[in-house]
């Protein structure tokens, strides 16, 4: 399904994949470490080829509201930013979720809180999987661990967004965004025509034809009874997503006595940790959640009787560890190890920590 192997940064892979998968519009505002997404789009000038709009908005808030508008008209639209900018977008994301609209949001995380640092971090886990904005909503969260997955998840993210009419976030970090690896880009798909959008998305607001009532897209519902019904519908959708869309990867789990759980860059560090541990005769495995919401809780729970301890390895103060603990439900020990503020834990540090828990 793909072409020649190229070498590029994760951020560049997202831009190329967006053009190729028929994205209609990108709206963003520059911030390190993800500025190459918009830079690559500007260099590629897709408005001359596929007709895709690329626009530098006046602010992050402007960009997410342009996405809200584009999504409301049935278009395949996206935005990207890094942690402080993603915080600014939260109101818009809540509105998009509340209006049942599809879109793709990319967060190439850096260390916080506040303006923080430009170095890689995973400290926006809670924000991404537990809401971020207000209200009872969920977004699907995909966590790439390679440049290839940056490209693949751009395509997958749009597919899921339109399948469930829900925002999808790619939660990457400065390492995945900045490093270059081999990537095989997706094949070109045509953008949908306006006619196709009218046919396929009867909810889209593209101008009212005479034969039907206006399509109203809003997250506002003054009547509580109606608002509760709407919430029940959202919750039913979220249960369906939890049932169908859990994605994860296992490494050396079969005979593991100790189990690492890590996503994104931490998972790459943990792959190396597993290699080193196995050389030393330690039966260590790795579960890598690919969807952070829905979280692979059953897949982790499966190992509670087999392993002596789970280790949540993160580039934050211990966020995903809470979901690992919920999955394990007290049946075995769950420990956390991590670094903060833009520091990446080393495989040696992780293995030394694992050893402190070995009996």
């Amino acid at each position: 399904m793909s072409e020649e192997i190229k070498l590029m940064k994760g951020n560049e892979a997202i831009a190329h994949a967006a053009i190729r998968c028929g994205c209609d519009g990108y709206f963003g505002y520059p911030i390190t470490p993800q500025s190459e997404i918009m830079e690559t789009l500007m260099e590629e000038e897709p408005w001359k080829t596929t007709g895709m709009v690329v626009l530098q908005a006046e602010s992050e808030v402007g960009a997410i509201n342009m996405v809200y508008g584009g999504a409301g008209s049935g278009k395949k639209v996206m935005t990207s930013s890094s942690s402080p900018g993603i915080s600014l977008k939260q109101e818009g994301i809540s509105y998009i979720a509340g209006a049942d609209l599809p879109c793709l949001i990319v967060n190439v995380m850096r260390g916080g809180p506040g303006l923080g640092t430009i170095q890689p971090s995973q400290a926006d886990y809670f924000q991404a999987v537990k809401g971020g904005g207000h209200g009872d909503y969920q977004q699907i969260v995909l966590a790439p661990a390679s440049v290839q997955e940056m490209a693949d998840f751009t395509v997958l993210g749009f597919e899921l967004a339109f399948k469930y009419l829900n925002p999808v976030m790619i939660l990457a970090d400065g390492i995945i965004g900045q490093m270059m690896e081999k990537v095989s880009l997706p094949l070109f798909q045509k953008r949908m025509t306006d006619e196709e959008i009218k046919e396929k998305y009867p909810w889209a607001a593209y101008g009212k034809p005479s034969h039907r009532k206006p399509n109203v897209i809003s997250s506002l519902e003054i009547e509580s009874v109606e608002m509760e019904k709407r919430n029940q519908r959202f919750q039913a959708k979220y249960r369906k997503i939890e049932e169908n869309e859990v994605r994860f990867e296992e490494l050396e789990c079969q005979d593991a006595e100790y189990m690492l759980v890590a996503f994104g860059t931490s998972a790459r560090v943990c792959q190396k940790t597993v290699e080193l541990a196995r050389e030393q005769g330690i039966k260590l495995g790795l579960i890598r959640p690919i969807t952070l919401w829905p979280f692979p809780k059953n897949e982790i729970a499966k190992y509670t009787s087999q392993v002596k301890c789970f280790f949540s390895i993160e580039m934050n103060a211990g966020q995903m560890v809470e979901d690992v603990r919920l999955a394990v439900n007290g049946k075995t020990e769950v420990a956390y190890y991590g670094r903060m503020g833009g520091i990446v834990p080393s495989p040696d540090e992780v293995i030394e920590f694992v050893k402190t828990k070995m009996v």
Binding site: I175, E181, T265
Partner: protein, 180 residues
């Protein structure tokens, strides 16, 4: 085969592009490659470094604490990364501006006078290719043809006329690397 390399020096010495050309050369041979730069303000002066991994197997962590080879092009980088070379590994440094040369006994240390050579060749911008030549002489992990292809892939077309200059610089580098 797996080679884990750190290249470090001043911003502007061509550290990142040297790593990129090496990564592209590996790509041309179908190897697994990763290229992870220090990013942000370091790219514009100060110190820059890049971790390059070439391997015939899937690469786990793109971030490393220890390296098979360290190519260190200023004093700050030597101070920081001399200790990060694995025992039995290789350290290459350019003697220009170095007041405290490396001292470890459990690694192989090589000096390359690439700054002097680039001045002699009147090719300042090829400094990094001279260093690359020195490295490839010691660790021929990619073929010369692949490096030329890698140069073609990583340089914009308007710079392709410079490829012969770069090729000469690589060859010159191979001649002037000496064990300490």
């Amino acid at each position: 085969m797996k080679e884990e390399i750190i290249i470090a020096g001043f911003g502007g010495q061509g550290v990142l592009s040297m790593g990129k050309i090496l990564a592209y050369s590996g790509l041309m041979e179908g190897q697994e490659v990763s290229w992870m730069p220090s990013y942000g303000p370091e790219q514009r002066g100060g110190t820059a470094n890049v971790t390059v991994i070439l391997s015939d197997k899937r690469i786990s962590s793109p971030i490393l604490n220890t390296f098979d080879t360290a190519i260190l092009l200023n004093q700050q980088s030597l101070d920081k990364f001399e200790k990060a070379v694995k025992p039995g590994g290789v350290l290459i440094f350019d003697g220009n501006g170095i007041s405290k040369p490396p001292t470890r006994k459990d690694i192989d240390i090589y000096q390359i006078q690439a700054t002097d050579k680039s001045i002699e060749l009147n090719a300042h911008k090829s400094f990094n290719m001279i260093v690359l030549g020195g490295f490839l002489k010691l660790r021929p992990i990619v073929k010369m043809e692949s490096v030329i292809l890698g140069l073609k892939k990583s340089l914009p077309e308007r710079h392709h006329h410079l490829i012969p200059v770069n090729e000469n610089a690589i060859k010159a580098g191979m001649e002037i690397i000496n064990k300490i």
